[in-house]
Symmetry: C2
DNA sequence: TAGATAATTAGCTAATCATCTAAATGATGT
DNA sequence: ACATCATTTAGATGATTAGCTAATTATCTA
């Protein structure tokens, strides 16, 4: 979980996850979206892999990255759970600050 | 939002937020829970303040920190929204991977 | 087998970070 | 005014990080 939060602390890496939300993409394809060098992107991918937020599979010359949504979900849930924060996607927010105490 | 995620990338700071979930606490009271020096904790508090995750008010000799839950909520919501991840606290998870596309 | 292409590793630098001790600030109480 | 207590600031250090270019590895194709 610590690795997940470390991985999420960089905006480039968060953006990579966002791109991966739609479909799996190759390293090069992902890299095209950013203004940094390929090796720099490769390092970011390594951090995401290390956190298990993405899955890498080799396909010929390319490496295809896939988002591991459940890992992200679990980490976020563990954290929001520990804080006592219920994250409703919509619903103009319910005050559940003390709910855990009842 | 970037500052929020940067702030969350350190386990000590996440733990501070967790302690603050129950009640506002002074810097010293918070510091007691950790094995690092007061100045180190003070630096962590500054990062949390900078990210607006906590609110600091002076009360006599002490500084009382309060969790700003809504800021955390907003950042997390912005991110999960961008990823297309719906975070349900319980409910053994619904597969909503492609939901955004319909 | 060469050459081209995709990605990673190696090696470096500059910046940021977490940590420490010592000193400064600020408020309270004698 | 002075001592004390709570916290922050200053200043230093070692570790980690994000970035780069150049070199390497792996795969494909002519």
């Amino acid at each position: 979980m610590n690795k997940v939060f470390k991985a999420l602390s960089d905006p480039t890496r968060r953006h990579v996850l966002q791109l991966l939300r739609d479909k799996p993409m190759s390293a090069g394809e992902l890299a095209e979206h950013f203004a940094v060098s390929k090796p720099t992107m490769s390092a970011h991918f390594a951090v995401l892999r290390e956190a298990d937020l993405v899955d890498a599979t080799k396909d010929g010359k390319s490496v295809i990255y896939r988002l591991r949504l459940s890992v992200l979900e679990d980490a976020l849930l563990a954290f929001t759970g520990a804080i006592g924060l219920e994250l409703k996607p919509d619903e103009t927010h319910t005050n559940n600050k003390e709910t855990h105490n009842d």
